[in-house]
């Protein structure tokens, strides 16, 4: 009889639900990484020009500026807010940089002007959302027209050109061999935002607010202050992107960076950030930016028309987001 009683010592109770390795393997980031590698291999097979360091270096311009903003946008969306005015902030920053250039300013001042304008725009959005409690989607749709409108008033149909040679370094310069300045800024931004979101108290606060703002408030988190800082950060990153883009184009028109906001949000959502807030990671956003860049460049090499390219991008977005849900649905059966 005693032989049949189950031996308690052999029963295994795991102290973790999954090992870190298997959790990582099943994660969203891993799925995206597989997609990215797959696209990379397909591109390399489809075009003889793809595996050229200089070509790949050129291709990074397809996403670097948008991805810089996407990091800040990821934090904002995780906290449950959104900023649709980022493209317009770029236009206003670029216009301000152009005005400073016309006044005779050199590269260091131009950079400060760009950063300052970005921060000011972010602060404006932040005050309206955090202080007055207005919905961010409404506020930033408004400031999207406002900021770009100011650019149009200043510039009309003219353009700022003739930026000083030193300023070209940000968007056209190389740090080492094929590594562009923009790519380094992108990598640094990724590292900093990773530290902020995943390794700091501030990052925990952002998640807490996104999951339950009321609970976060009762836990002593100053919700408004955190949101204000997030809008400031988004403005700042848009300012940095504006410096890079203005430097790369060597000119400013009020239509600069038109439609950037949707591409930035696409990168963030593709990166696994929940559009409802509360979850997401920086590595996901980094890989999503790479996927976007690889897809547009690869299709460009095959001279696929832009219309088809946006269809593929859309299908990819829906596909990558639907896949995990389909997977769980099928497994439950």
């Amino acid at each position: 009889m005693s032989d049949t009683t189950p031996d308690r010592t052999t029963r295994h109770i795991p102290d973790r639900l999954q090992s870190p390795l298997s959790r990582a393997l099943k994660s969203w980031e891993m799925l995206l990484l597989i997609v990215a590698v797959g696209i990379f291999i397909l591109n390399a097979l489809a075009s003889p020009y793809f595996l050229d360091p200089w070509n790949l270096s050129d291709a990074t311009f397809n996403f670097t500026e948008k991805a810089m903003i996407a990091f800040a946008m990821a934090l904002l969306i995780i906290s449950g807010e959104i900023d649709l005015s980022v493209g317009a902030i770029i236009a206003l920053c670029s216009t301000a940089i152009g005005l400073a250039m016309t006044a005779g300013a050199q590269a260091p001042v131009l950079v400060l002007v760009g950063l300052g304008t970005g921060l000011a725009c972010g602060a404006f959005n932040g005050v309206l959302v955090a202080r007055f409690g207005l919905p961010s989607i409404v506020v930033t749709i408004g400031t999207m027209s406002l900021f770009r409108g100011i650019s149009y008033i200043v510039l009309g149909d003219s353009a700022f050109t003739g930026y000083p040679a030193g300023f070209a370094w940000f968007g056209q310069g190389y740090v080492w061999w094929v590594i562009t300045v923009e790519l380094v800024i992108f990598a640094l931004a990724a590292l900093i935002f990773w530290l902020v979101l995943h390794r700091s108290n501030f990052g925990r606060m952002v998640y807490a607010i996104g999951n339950n703002a009321t609970a976060a408030r009762f836990s002593g988190i100053r919700v408004e202050r955190v949101k204000f800082i997030l809008f400031l950060l988004t403005g700042l990153m848009s300012g940095i992107a504006a410096i890079c883009l203005t430097s790369r184009l060597g000119s400013t028109r009020p239509s600069i960076a038109a439609g950037f906001e949707l591409e930035v949000v696409t990168i963030v959502v593709l990166g696994g950030v929940s559009i409802l807030g509360g979850s997401g990671s920086i590595p996901g956003v980094v890989i999503a930016a790479l996927v976007m860049g690889l897809v547009t460049f690869g299709l460009g090499l095959m001279n696929v028309p832009g219309i088809v390219m946006s269809i593929i991008m859309g299908l990819l977005l829906i596909g990558v987001i639907a896949l995990p849900r389909l997977w769980t649905m099928l497994r439950r059966r």
Binding site: L45, A46, S47, P48, Y49, F50, D52, W54, N55, D58, A59, F61, N62, Y152, G156, D157, A159, T161, A168, G171, Q172, L245, R248, L249, G250, S251, R253, P254, S255, I256, A257, A258, G259, T296, F297, G300, L301, N303, P305, G306, I307, M309, S310
Partner: protein, 329 residues
């Protein structure tokens, strides 16, 4: 594994084919402002015609989804990567494309602009479909021709940043004194979007009840304006003119919403741009002020001091010939 192997062999064969093709043929990229615009599709037709005539030319017809400089830069970067022989571009922005096109020229690619130009440092030459003074004069002349007693006219343009439209309107204003009866009362911008242009045209008719003509020097704007005039029941009162495509305007010429309009032949333009790109890339012509470049059946062009050349005069379409051309473009 077998599938992978088949795929790899297939891809290898494909890439091999691509390399041999590029060794034999000259690849000329025709980069347009955005795909899906009738005018540029017609230009592509002309480019294909030139390629057929030249024999050893492959045309890569490409462009972004919407008319942005950023989109065109992505396209140019991928063309540089493919090491095409020549790029012939109709630019969305005079200045923003310069750094990228300079890079293309640094890597040995022939770069010319056509239709909407690029600043001189970003291209070897610019092919204008016509000369801007001639176009500016033509659009106001078309309005004046059907206004024997004179009256108020308004301009419906594309975007405030459209290089072409701004130059033409500027030239039009320069010669406005030659048409003393014609009074230009306003310039509005429909952003080359059908619905916005339509609303702007409606707005013009409401703001200026005595309006006699709308000049729309854009193929999107002129159709929207003609539709707005038709819908307002003002055919015969407000004449819509400017620059448009025969295929899109034939109905409006027939209904009387538009007496006449002008356009150069985009087929000829794509043809000529391809011819010039071919000769420059081949090295049997040079792009410098005063140089002459042959353009096949269109004759030849001579470059001015800015390395710009004009192809031909704009051509007027009215009830007598619009049907014939509407099947072409």
């Amino acid at each position: 594994m077998k599938l992978l192997k088949t795929l790899m062999t297939g891809a290898a064969a494909l890439s091999l084919m691509a390399t041999t093709a590029s060794a034999e043929e000259m690849r000329i990229a025709l980069v347009v402002k955005a795909l899906g615009i009738g005018f540029f599709e017609a230009a592509n037709k002309g480019a294909q015609e030139a390629a057929e005539e030249l024999g050893d030319v492959e045309i890569i017809y490409t462009g972004p989804t919407d008319t942005t400089a950023e989109g065109q830069i992505e396209v140019i970067n991928s063309l540089i990567a493919q090491r095409v022989d020549a790029i012939a571009i109709s630019a969305n922005d005079t200045d923003a494309l310069v750094p990228t096109l300079k890079k293309a020229m640094d890597r040995g690619i022939t770069v010319i602009s056509w239709d909407s130009g690029v600043a001189p440092e970003g291209r070897q030459m610019q092919l204008n479909p016509s000369s801007s003074p001639l176009i500016g004069n033509m659009i106001i002349k078309l309005a004046a021709d059907h206004l024997p007693d004179g009256g108020d006219v308004a301009v419906l343009s594309a975007t405030t940043t459209s290089t072409n439209q701004n130059v033409w309107i500027e030239e039009m204003n320069k010669v406005a004194g030659d048409y003393p009866n014609v009074n230009v009362v306003a310039t509005v911008y429909g952003d080359d979007l059908a619905d916005k242009s339509y609303r702007e045209a409606q707005g013009l008719m409401q703001t200026y009840p005595d309006l006699k003509a709308i000049i729309a020097p854009t193929s999107v704007g002129i159709v929207a304006a003609a539709q707005a005039v038709t819908d307002a029941g003002k055919i015969g009162e407000v004449n819509v003119t400017g620059l448009g495509l025969p295929s899109e305007m034939a109905g409006h010429v027939e209904s009387g919403a538009s007496e006449s309009f002008a356009i150069w032949n985009p087929i000829d333009l794509g043809y000529s741009a391809t011819m010039i790109a071919y000769h420059l890339a081949k090295g049997d012509a040079t792009a410098e002020p005063g140089a002459t470049i042959p353009i096949g059946r269109m004759g030849e062009v001579t470059l001015d001091e800015n390395s710009e050349a004009a192809m031909a005069d704009p051509f007027v379409y009215d009830a007598s010939n619009v049907e014939e051309f509407s099947s072409i473009f």
